[in-house]
């Protein structure tokens, strides 16, 4: 589950886990990259990520994989 983090002056941020983020090159390179850009697809695994955030009065660090995966909506 989410682990609590202290709210310092730094601005933490997250990122995908297990895979390299798509490289950012010059503008010319980006055009080429966009053609073959890797993006999520239905029916395929959701890319794991970790990210800091705010939840119920505390700062937390959340990992997609560490969440107890279940359908959150139950009628």
């Amino acid at each position: 589950m989410a682990e609590e983090i202290k709210g310092g002056c730094a601005r933490p941020t997250g990122g995908p886990v297990g895979e390299e983020a798509p490289p950012r090159g010059t503008e010319e390179k980006q055009v080429t990259l966009q053609e073959g850009k890797k993006m999520i697809q239905v029916g395929k695994k959701a890319p794991d990520f970790t990210a800091p955030g705010f939840h119920k009065d505390i700062f937390v660090n959340v990992k997609l994989k560490c969440k107890n995966l279940e359908w959150k909506y139950c009628p």
Binding site: A46, A51, L69
Partner: protein
Amino acid sequence: MSIDSMFVHKMWNDHELSKMVDGGVPFAMLSDAGGRVGTVYGVYDEDAGVETRGRFIIDPDGVVQGYEVLTPPVGRNVNETLRQVQAFQLVRKSKGAEATPSGWKPGKMTLKPGINLVGNVWKEWKTDMAFD
């Protein structure tokens, strides 16, 4: 998740969103400054440096079952998202024995995919069933 810092999320929740929803936002508001997660999920707009609003349905196995991303001026429909979650839950529970056709909502008929259904959907499902 947005490109805003967790500090901005706290201010937004405490000063505005908690006035719309009792107790504030019930889920974690995550920070993706730099847009690295948003890039993989297809919502990071590199030109503007922001993330477009989107929602993703991920099943208990971590598989993406659906997503919806719209340009900013048009909002999404939460009821439609809930309907899709209910449909995916039904399909999953049936282990693929049932499928929900266009316009399905809880209580409406489902299809039983198989050789007997091939060429016979028209007997089971009528076009007016696509609408409420």
